[in-house]
C-alpha cells in the first residue's frame, strides 16, 4: 500500500469499508423477494459509487476489494468469494471509465452499468462453475434486475453522498 497515505485518509477509507460491510450485512438479512440466485439490490455498491464520485478511483478500488475479501471471510459460504470477486471487479472495471466519461456526474447511470456488469460477471462465473450453458436463460432476468438495482443504488449514492461528504471531507 501507498506509504504516503495520510492518517486521515486511511481512517476515512477504513470508515467507508466498515460502512459497506455493515450495509452488506443488513442486506443479506433481508429475505430474497424473487427466488432466483443473483437477484439482489447490491446496496454495498452505494459506498463504491460515493467514493468514485467524491474521492479517487484508487480509493474506491481499495475499499471495494477490502469489502469483497472481508465479506467473504465474515459471511461467506464456499465459492461466494469467487462470485463476488468476479462481479465486483468486472463492475468496477466498467464503472471507473463510465464515471470518468460522465465527469463524476449522474451516478445512477454509472450504477446501472455497474449493476448490469456485476450480474454478467456472476453469471459468467456460474457458467464456469456449473459448465452448463443452460443457465444463460437467466441472462435477461439478471440484466433487468442488475440495471434496476443499479439505478436505485446510484440514486441512493447521489443523495447519501452529498450529506456524507459535507461531514467527512
Amino acid at each position: 500500500m501507498d506509504k504516503n497515505m495520510s492518517l486521515r485518509k486511511l481512517t476515512t477509507l477504513g470508515l467507508y469499508t466498515a460502512l459497506s460491510l455493515a450495509v452488506y450485512a443488513i442486506e443479506s438479512a433481508i429475505p430474497p423477494l424473487i427466488p432466483l440466485p443473483g437477484i439482489k439490490l447490491g446496496l454495498a455498491n452505494i459506498v463504491t459509487l460515493i467514493l468514485l464520485q467524491h474521492y479517487t478511483a484508487r480509493d474506491a478500488f481499495l475499499v471495494l476489494t477490502a469489502r469483497l475479501l472481508l465479506s467473504a471471510l465474515l459471511f461467506g459460504q464456499a465459492l461466494s468469494l469467487l462470485y463476488s470477486l468476479a462481479g465486483g471487479l468486472l463492475s468496477f472495471a466498467v464503472m471507473y471509465p463510465a464515471n470518468r466519461l460522465l465527469q463524476k456526474k449522474l451516478p445512477f447511470l454509472t450504477g446501472a452499468l455497474g449493476g448490469l456488469f456485476h450480474n454478467l460477471g456472476q453469471l459468467g462465473t456460474a457458467w464456469a462453475i456449473t459448465a452448463t450453458a443452460g443457465i444463460f436463460a437467466y441472462l435477461p432476468y439478471l440484466a433487468v434486475s442488475g440495471i434496476l438495482a443499479g439505478l436505485f443504488t446510484g440514486l441512493c449514492a447521489h443523495f447519501a453522498g452529498r450529506y456524507m461528504i459535507s461531514r467527512l471531507k
Binding site: 449522474l106 447511470l109 446501472a112 452499468l113 448490469l116 444463460f136 436463460a137 433487468v144 440495471i147
Partner: protein, 131 residues
C-alpha cells in the same frame, strides 16, 4: 470538447441500457410454446446425470442427488413438472424456484452445482436457435 464527450457518453450509456432492457424484456415475455412434451435433464458439475421424460405418463416419484461434502438435493418428478423439494444448501433458493414444466428458466442450485433443464422431446426442434 469536454462538454461534447460528456454528452456522447450520456447518450451512449442511456442507449446501451435501454437496448439491454428492451432485449431482456422481449426475451422474458417471449411466449412459451405449448402442447409439446419435454424431457428433463439433470446436470451435476456440467455432466448429464439423468434424463426423465415429462410426457404425462408415470407417477410422482422422488430421489436424492448427492454431491461433494455431503450436500444433497431431493428431486421430485411429477407427470409434467419437475422440481427440488429439499436441499442441504444454506439459502434453499433451488427449493423456492418451485416446479418447472417448460424450457426457459432451469432450476439451479449453485452451492451444489446442480441444474435441471427441460428440452423438447422431438428431435430437431429449433427452439434453441432463438437465443
Amino acid at each position: 470538447m469536454q462538454q461534447r464527450s460528456y454528452k456522447i457518453a450520456v447518450v451512449f450509456i442511456i442507449t446501451l441500457l435501454c437496448l439491454v432492457l428492451g432485449l431482456s424484456m422481449a426475451a422474458i415475455l417471449r411466449p412459451a410454446s405449448r402442447g409439446t412434451d419435454y424431457i428433463a435433464d439433470i446436470y451435476q458439475d456440467g455432466s448429464l446425470l439423468a434424463s426423465f421424460p415429462l410426457d404425462g405418463s408415470g407417477d410422482t416419484r422422488r430421489f436424492i442427488v448427492t454431491g461433494e461434502n455431503g450436500c444433497f438435493n431431493e428431486i421430485e418428478i411429477r407427470p409434467r413438472t419437475i422440481g427440488i423439494v429439499s436441499a442441504s444448501c444454506p439459502d434453499k433458493l433451488c427449493v423456492h424456484q418451485g416446479f418447472i414444466g417448460a424450457p426457459g428458466l432451469p432450476v439451479v442450485c449453485l452451492p451444489n452445482r446442480l441444474v435441471i433443464q427441460l428440452r423438447e422431446a422431438e428431435p430437431g426442434a429449433v427452439d434453441a436457435v432463438a437465443y
